[in-house]
Amino acid sequence: MSTRLATGGRLTDRSKPMSFRFNGQNLRGVQGDTLASALLASGQLLMGRSFKYHRPRGPVASGAEEPNALVNLGQGARFEPNQRATTTELFDGLTATSQNHWPSLNFDVGAVNTHLSRFLPAGFYYKMFIHPRPLWKHFYEPIIRRSAGLGAAPDAETVDADTYEHFYAFTDVLILGGGVAGLQAALGAAGSGAQVLLLEQSADWGGRTPVDGGEIDGKPVQDWINDAVQALGNMDNVTLRNRTMGAGVYDHGYALGYERLNDHAPEAAGPRHRLWRIRARQIVTATGAIERPLSFAGNDVPGVLLASAVRDYVVNYGVSIGDRTVVVTNNDDAYRTAICLQEHGLDVPVILDARPQGGGALMQQAEALGIRVLRGKAIASVQGSRKVTGVTICAQAGEGAVLETIACDAVAMSGGWSPVVHLWSHCGGKLVWDEQQAFFRPDLGKAPTGHDGTPFVIPAGAANGYIHLRDTLTDATTAGVSAATAAGFKPKSTAVPQAPEQPEAPMMAVWLMPQGANVALRAKAWLDFQNDVKVSDIQLAAQEGYESVEHAKRYTTLGMATDQGKLSNINGLATLSRALGADIPSVGTTTFRPPYTPISMGAIAGQARGEIFQPVRETPLHQWHQSHAAHWEPVGQWRRPYCFPQGGETVEQAVQREVIATRASLGLLDASTLGKIVVKGPDAGRFLDMLYTNMMSTLPVGKCRYGLMCSENGFLMDDGVVARISDDTWLCHTTTGGAERIHGHMEEWLQTEWWDWKVYTANVTEQYAQIAVVGPNARKLLEKLGGMDVSKDALPFMQWSDGTLAGIPARIFRISFSGELSYEVAVPASQGLALWEMLHAAGAEWNATAYGTEALHILRAEKGFIMIGDETDGTVIPQDLGLGWAISKKKADYIGKRAQARSHMTDPTRWQLVGLETADGSVLPDGALAAAPGKNANGQRNTQGRVTSTYHSPTLGRGIAMGLVLNGPERMGETLEFSKLDGTTVPTKIVNAVFFDPEGEKQNV
């Protein structure tokens, strides 16, 4: 059983006990513990269940690479799933629960999967659940979703109680990793005067070096580290940040740092996480190395850990995994674990060294301590299910015949080390296979390059393949100096700190243990612990033809878990290359993508939440709407009143009242959100002729014309009324929310295609308040305000005029989007509210009624006017909508003209706009489809039309709709069956889309 040793723990302070809860149980740890070390100290080795087979799992590592020990952390508004216990610093009051089990961690029903694993091979889900197809959605998927997933999703209604922020930083040299390599690289770079930013993911500096002890420059490594941190801290040009992970390296020296400010102290003030958005001239990746597991049967049983992790728990936290630890290795480093355990009074019954000749000086040291060493031997299998009870021993060269069984309660394994090349690789750094040490290391000739084509990333120390302290220090010094030089500084000469030589015997690549393991053993030899991918799964994938490492990864899910294969990738691709009979470099690695370990969604969002997630645009009348109970609707970034419910009205009742009041007498609409773009210059007319489908250059000064704008591939993108202001000036109205897009569209063509045309555009949308005065009494109201002649003769339909209305400078457009007598009055934004209030006061005698967007929609739909975004969806051309009259036949060219001549665009079977009237007067569902006989190639029912706009018309007292229907205009009076949401259909007649006042008598008075 794991426990706290009587003494030791270099990172802990036993005088400061802390209490925490795990699965409802009160436990105790000490300051400096991680959640994992505190759980182990409490005898809690079992920390979770695996993803697929629900196998019991304890931690296998001690750091960021941990695949197993994931917990639900926190509660309520601070709940977060899938947090690694190995990197979670303990604090007083921490609350965690284990994941992926039911009903309990100790007894889990899903664990039956492990007995079925023979029937759940690689690609099982793809193979099993594909047939019969209909079962997927309603049967397989719900069941799989319930049993899949690791942690629980946070409650959807709960808002994260913490705050987060982004921070921009610029530096000459960014160093990622604060181990001895990072510290030494920083010293090497900082002497030049360059700005240096050094990030370390954990709370402590120095990385793993202090665990193994030894000396640098004749002093204990911890002293050297302390001195280095102090020296750097005293330099004005150096910034040190611990608890800050280098998350990603991107184009042109961009990097992300992920700072965890108070995960370890949740009551502290300030943001929880800070995302550093860094631009660096040079980046040094001093990210260390990660030990690899060995692939033997039962290597996932709780109590089997990486040899380095066993050592870390003892030295850093004073915690032992077991009393009797078998060490199994293919290299010398794991002997340090055996020696360390022995020195702490723990028993190491045997060291199994897969190498026939065994190791070097460290082996001799272990044997001198009396530890039994077996050369050329391997673990055949681990005994025990919820914890290790023993191992069987066999020859590494054989197939697993058991030579001996040894009782033990822990196994420390080492398959060699892999440099952490992730950050080197993120932005295109290539790798080279080091045959001797059996790992990928950075290919220094193929570094990520910056804007000038020169490298901007330099790997240092173990991350560059220099695993031994002496070599690490030499390489890190060079890296730091090189980075400063490349950043344009002149480094001072930096002495290389000296560490004693530690000669080691060569390691031996071991990808399967024993090398000839039979299928029963291979099916229990785990590669990816979190996703339950075994040696046998990769072999099956290769056998089934998944030869690309990227394909095999996705087929088996190797390396696709939250740990992103930090432990499994090299073993997995070595297994694949063996199965394919290819060498490892030719199989290659999967792509390393940022972030290095998962970062919180809160950090990504930063401050952009709530009210500042995106700006809200308000019209000059916004406050009036607000104080008149507006029911708001977001339209792009604008807020527009949907309607103004009064005295207990429902939204629907308010909309119906507003429509009726407008048709009967007088309605007032805030139309300020309409886009207003001035187009001016000698070539403005010519330009607008290219922009709109109809002719704008011939529009007389003083008149208005409705225009359509298409994209270059012919589709209708915007519409609006264009007014000619003067000989060389036009004012183009766009849809609400379309102003910026259309202005950008104009500028793109002017700047990149017709740059020699003399045209100037200005988006003046927010300069004006625009109010639509609509209804039979609209003219009377404006006449009552006085100052401008708005009579039929002075201001006929589709004309505009400038003047002063009730003392306010105004431009009045006689245009109508409702079919009523209608004026749109534009005044300076600052005077909009004054005019609006005057209109209401003076209009009271005609029951002047403010109406919102929904009434606007109904009024236009009753008249068969299209709405961009309802009748159009990016696949509709004006010809589909009966708008051929607005397309000039005379013009040689306009944007979209050529595309509208393509065969698909001129296809007579394109669906066309019609009106739709249900037989029972009901309102059709939006988007409803009309069925047609027969089925398509996918076995779905054929369709012959769809609803694009649908409303209850208070004017007509029935449902009205518009839709696109096959040969629609030729099928007037025909009845189609449109589907309803309840699965039934409703008979619907094809009619003219102009439901109300088809002669247009009301607007021309």
Binding site: G428, H451, D452, G453, T752, R898, A899, A901
Partner: protein, 109 residues
């Protein structure tokens, strides 16, 4: 992301200011063009691993469109220049040829 210098205002800008606009130096095909030529203009784009000419807009800066010549594989930027040209200027071509021996505009155009 990339840092590009706006040739109009001289600002070195990145993702918070710039907006990408696809391949540069396309020749617009109008009503008289053949189906093939029009399709090519509208839809066919180069996707080279290497030298590429792109349109960018300094959208949250001066608002101007400009062109950038860069290598899609190494992210090297050979230069930015006015959008109001139909071919890359000689200076840009020379710089690319110096960095990529054997490259020539005629192979691209």
């Amino acid at each position: 992301m990339l840092i590009l210098e706006c040739p109009y205002c001289g600002v070195k800008a990145e993702e918070t200011e710039l907006h990408g606009g696809g391949e540069a130096h396309l020749v617009r095909r109008g009503p008289d063009s053949s189906d093939d030529a029009f399709e090519s203009y509208l839809f066919q784009r180069q996707n080279p691993k290497g030298v590429h000419f792109e349109r960018w807009r300094h959208a949250y800066g001066c608002g101007k469109w400009f062109h950038a010549a860069r290598c899609t594989a190494t992210l090297e930027v050979f230069g930015t220049y006015s959008a109001q040209v139909s071919e890359p200027p000689q200076q840009i071509r020379d710089r690319i040829a110096a960095r990529r021996p054997g490259w020539s505009w005629s192979d691209q155009g």
